[in-house]
Symmetry: D3
Subunit: 162 residues, 6 copies
C-alpha cells in the first residue's frame, strides 16, 4: 500500500480533489449496516410494519433524503445529482437485528459510495430514534460498502467471507 | 415492556411528539462508535495527525457540524439549540480501529442523544471518506449511546459489560 | 384597516421584525389545504394506504420535516424550535380530494402560523409529486390558517362559513 | 388508467426512481397559483410595489430560492441543477387576488414540474407571511401545473377550460 | 494578551464551547462592510433602486436569510434563534462604494457577532453577483464588527478612529 | 458601459438568468481576501498551526463546505456541481494579516466566481470567529476575484497593479 490519502495535497492540507477531467460514467454504490436490539423491540417494529406505526417507512425516507445531502455532511465529498436511491430493510430474527441495504446511482465524475453509506447510516439512526424510548441500548454495526461500480477503478465487491 | 413507540399516534401515524409542556432542563448525551481498518490505513491516519494530512481534524469538524443538523436528518427529531459539542478520537492499535466519542449538550425540552449519535456517525463516515481510496473495506460498528442526563427520566448509563 | 405591513421599516425596506422584548408563550398554529384529483387517482392513494404504496406516510413526513425548515424558506420568518408537529389527511370522496390539516406548536416569541401552512403545503406538493405520473392536472387549493393561539393577540379562529 | 404509482417498488416501498439511463434533455415546467385576500390588503401590496414595501420583490426571491431546494423538500424528487427560474405576479382586481406564475428549466434526466410548483407555492406563502398581520384569512388556491416540456412524454398543457 | 483561543480544548482539538451554564441575555451585534466599484456600476445600482432592478432589495434579503444560517456556515458557532435582523445600505459617492450595515439580535447564551458579520458579507457578495457582468473588479473591504452588547463581557464598540 | 444588469428582466424584476442553451465548459474561479489583526493574534494563529489549535485547518474546511452551498446563499446564483475546491492561507507578517486564496472548478453552463468568493469569505469569517475572543477588531478586506476561465467570455485576470 504505497498510496497516500488523496484528500490532502502535497503540503498536507485538505482539499476537494480535482475531478474536472474525469469523464461522466454510470456509478453505483451499495452499502449495508444493521442495528441490534432487544427481541421485544424488534417485535414492535415488525408488528408495526404490518399494522400501524411503520418504523421502516419513516427510516427509509430518512435514508433516501439523507443520501441527497451527503455533500453537505461529508466535508470533502463532491456534490452529485443522484439518479436513483433505494433503501431496503430485512429482519434478522436470529441476531435480533434489522439489516439495512442502500443503493445509490448517478452519472457523474466521482463515485456514490459515501451516498450509499450515508443513506444506510441515517436510516439506522432513525430506527434508533423511533425506538429509543423503549430500548436505549440498541447498537449500530457492520456499516460497510458492499459494492461499487463505474469510474476508472471499475467494480469492487466486498469480501463475502467477512 | 408494555410501552408503545411514542413517535406514532393512536392511529399509527408518525408525528413529532408534543414536548410543549416539558420544562427546559440541562441535557447531556454521550455516544460512541468505531471504525475498523487495515493496519496500514491506521498507520497513515495516525502519522498524518502528527505530521500532515490531519484526518481527525477534518472528521471532528464534520461531526460537530452534523450535530447541529440532526433535526434536518432525523425526521421526527425536535430541533434544538446545542450549547456544547465535542468529538474525540482514540486509536485502538489492538483492534486496528479508531474509536470516536461525541458529547452534546443543551438546555431544552428534549434530550440530545440523537445529536451525539449523529456527530459520532458522521465523524466516522468522514474517516471512511478520507481513507476509502486506500481501504474500501473499513467497517463502522459499536455505534451506541453511552450516557444521557437530564429530563424526566434522569440519567442513563450503558451497561459497561457490553 | 389602518395598519401597515410590519415586515417593512419606515423607509419601506424589508427586515426581520424585532421580537426580542416579547415574552415566550405557548404558541399553536393550525392550517389546512386540499388537493383535488381524478377519482381513479384518489382510489390509488386510498388503496395504497391500506395495502402497499403509502402516499400519506411519505407526504406526512415531508410536511413534518418542512415545518422545521420554514425559517429557511420564508425570508423574514423568525427561526423557531418547534415542540410539536402533526400532519393529518382525510379523504373527501364527494370532492375527489385529499384534505390535509397541520398543527404546529412552540414556546417562543412569535407565532407558528407559517410553520403550519408550510407543513400543509409541502405535504400536498408531495402528494402531487407521487401521483403526477398518472394525473398531472391535480390542483391544490383552500390552503389557509384555521386557528392560532398564544402571543399578545391571543386566539384567532377562521370563519367557519368560508 | 392502468398505471401504478412509480414512486413505489413492487413491494410497495418508496424509492427514488431510477433515471440513470434516461438521456439529458431540455426540460421546462410552468406552474401557477393565487392568493385571495381582502381588497384593503391587495391595495396595500399594490401600492407598496410602487412606493415602498415591495411584497412582490420579497416573494419573488423566496420562490426562486425555494425552487433550488425542491430536492430537499420533496422526499423522492431527484436533485437537479436548474438553468433558469422566473416568478411573476399579476394582480387580479376582480378576484381580490394575486396570481403567481413560475417557470423552471434544466437540462437533465427528469422534469422540473415540482420545482415550478414549489417556487409558486413558496412565493404565495411569503405573501401570506408579509400580510398576515393585517389579514389572517388569506387563502391560497389554484396551485397547478400549466405546462411541461421535454423528456420522453414530451409536452403537456393544462386544459384551459378548467 | 495571555488569553488562548477558546475554540480549542487543552489538547488543541476544535470543539463547540460549552455555554450551557451561561444565562440567557439580550444580545446585539452590529457589523459593517463595503464594496467598491466603477462609478458607472454604482450609478446603475443607484438608479435601479429608484426605477427598476432593485439590487439593494435582493442583497438585503440575501443578508437577512444568511444570518439565519450562520450556525451552518461557521463550524464552531452555536445555533441561535435570532429575534431581529436588519440590513441597511448607504451609497458613498466619494468612495465609489456601497456601505452595508447589519444588526442582529437574540435572547440567548452566546453573542450574535458572527450573525451580523455573515449578514453583511453575504449581502455584499450578492451585490457582487448582481453586478459582476458589468464590473468584475469590485472589491469587498472594511468588513468588521462595529458593536456588541449583552453577555458577561457587556458592550464593546469599535474604535471610531480606525 | 452600455450593458444592463442581467439579473433583472425587462420589467426590472429579479430572475435566475436562462443558461439552458449554453454549452458545458470547464470553468475555473480564483478569489482572494485577507483579514488584518493584532500582531499577538497573528502569532497565536501561526503558532497553533504548528503546535495545537489549527485555525487554518478549521477555516479551510469551512471555506470548502461553504463553496458547495453558494447556490443557497446567493439568491440568483445557479446551483453547480463543483469538481474541485481548494482554500489556501498565507501569513503576511508585514501587514499583520492572513491572506486567503480559493480556487473552484466545475464543468458547467455558468461560471464559479461566486463559489470562489464565497469560499474565501467564509474561510475569513471563520478565522474571525475563532479569534474574536482575543481580538474583536479584526477586519476583512481585499475580497476580490483574481481570475476566471471558461465560458463564452473566456479568461479574465484582475489587474495586478491594484
Amino acid at each position: 500500500m504505497s498510496q497516500t490519502l488523496t484528500h490532502f495535497d502535497a503540503r498536507g492540507d485538505a482539499h476537494m480533489v480535482d475531478v474536472s477531467a474525469k469523464p461522466e460514467t454510470h456509478r453505483i454504490g451499495v452499502a449495508a449496516g444493521q442495528i441490534t436490539m432487544q427481541p421485544e423491540t424488534l417485535a414492535m417494529i415488525r408488528d408495526g410494519a404490518h399494522r400501524k406505526g411503520d418504523v421502516f417507512g419513516v427510516a427509509r425516507l430518512a435514508g433516501i433524503m439523507a443520501a441527497k445531502r451527503t455533500g453537505e455532511l461529508i466535508p470533502l465529498c463532491h456534490p452529485l445529482p443522484l439518479t436513483r436511491v433505494t433503501v431496503e430493510f430485512m429482519v434478522d430474527e436470529a441476531a435480533n437485528a434489522v439489516c439495512c441495504r442502500a443503493t445509490t446511482e448517478t452519472v457523474g465524475r466521482t463515485g456514490v459510495e459515501m451516498e450509499a453509506l450515508t443513506a444506510a447510516t441515517v436510516a439506522l439512526l432513525t430506527i434508533y430514534d423511533m425506538c429509543k424510548a423503549v430500548d436505549r441500548a440498541m447498537t449500530i454495526s457492520e456499516v460497510r460498502l458492499l459494492e461499487k461500480h463505474g469510474g476508472k477503478s471499475g467494480s469492487w465487491l466486498a469480501d463475502p467471507a467477512v
